[in-house]
Amino acid sequence: MRVLIAEDEPALARQLADSLGQAGYAVDAAGDGARAEFLGQTETYDAVVLDLGLPGMDGLTVLRRWREAGMAAPVLVLTARGSWHEKVQGIDGGADDYVSKPFRMEEVLARLRALIRRSSGQVQPELRAGDVTLDPRGARVMRGDTPVKLTSHEFRVLSYLMHQRGRVVSQAELTEHIYAQDYDRDSNTVEVFIARLRRKVGPGVIETVRGLGYRVAAE
């Protein structure tokens, strides 16, 4: 799962990036409106954390432009201006949820998880495939009753495939959702992660659909 953070206060952006990184997300950051607009329109994200008070171009304008350009990722708005009048403007501008500053990090993480779950059509907070359970709340994976240790990239691959359960995901799509933008993508290929995941969670969970990509079967 890949997330964009658009926040101009460097300390807060770093704290958000750290916490989201620990929760298993690949994170890109934008410090101003123009950069946020560009990244949101050119890269693929599973969710966005958007501060409305961005310099250059304000967050609401960025959001409207994204939506006009057809960007569909769920957007969690982060703002110091938390009046209802402003919340209405944010939601009407295309936001999906709202957190007022100052906030608790757990709240941001919980809402982000809920947004991603909702946008991928999942109802239960825990994702299951066969005897494998993935809990996005603690970035934990269990096989039966035994915890499985995964690297952050392996976790993202499995998490994305399980969120898209039942659908074939191409290698290119997978690549877009597991790497942050500045990451050197050639050094680790998706095949390697899939092979390692199959060793750790069992061979039956991830199917290869020849010529198309990978799939975690629906129940």
């Binding site: 110091a80 009046s83 009048h85 209405v88 999906d96 100052p102 909702r118």
Partner: protein
Amino acid sequence: MRSLRARLLVGGLLWTLGLVLVTEVVVRQLSQRGVPGIRIHYGAMSILAIGLLATGLTFAHIGLSPVGRLRARLAAVRSGQDARVAGHYPTEVQSLVDDLNALLDDREKSIARAQAHAGNLAHGLKTPLAVLAQEASRATDPALGSAITQQVERMRRQMDYHLAHARAAASGSVLGTRCQVAESVEPLIRTLQRLYADRSLSFESALLLDHAVRCQREDLDEMLGNLLDNACQWARSRVSVASSVEHTSVRIVVEDDGPGIPVELRETVLQRGVRADESAAGSGLGLAIVRDLAGLYGGSIELGASPLGGLRATLKLPAA
């Protein structure tokens, strides 16, 4: 002499008296010298005199009527019906009216500036507070961390509370504010449906388009947003909002089918202001803000039991 009308009348009388004396002197002089040919037609003269007198009085009356109109217009501005003194007046009065309107402009601008500064102060502090809160949650000393977290939460409540007040205190005096209830409720319901998308709540609204209140849009949004949000938080599945007119006020009733609030706690919930530091984030403060905002606009809020099973909040605001 305090009355303008009396001054004009006395002035007119003295002027007429002077004229009569002058005429008398001239007529006597002329008749002494025996100028021939002056014949006075008494009938025509008296009709003309009465006509002139009546016209003069009417003019004096009409001349003063703009003052009465100005008073009515000023009353409308004061009550919030009009934003500015409207209408055309005689030259002398018009310049006064223009000055008055310019004064209202200035006042509105300085209120808006003060409001913007209060807002900037609060919002400028919130991002550093957010940073502080995150640092506190990672502090190696958990006691220190929780102490800072608690104080950050106190500061947040203080800012939210006083910001809402600063805005309302200023806008309560911004003139000519009228807002339709439905125009505020519909976007709020749209917003809450998105924010509570997980909950599959059903919203029922019974609002008439012509129900309008004397209130700033932002403040009406804040009051109804807090009431509806509170209803959504506690509702099992249904939230309803209805409006009705009662004498000179509009009643807006927000209800839910949640657990409600016991009778003995209702007043406490409304009283809970900035001092309720120990309560969890976001709880209670919303209703206290609604109470204070309603009070600033000369309205009120009442909590009761809803036939749906949960809380029934009745907000009364002056009709516009």
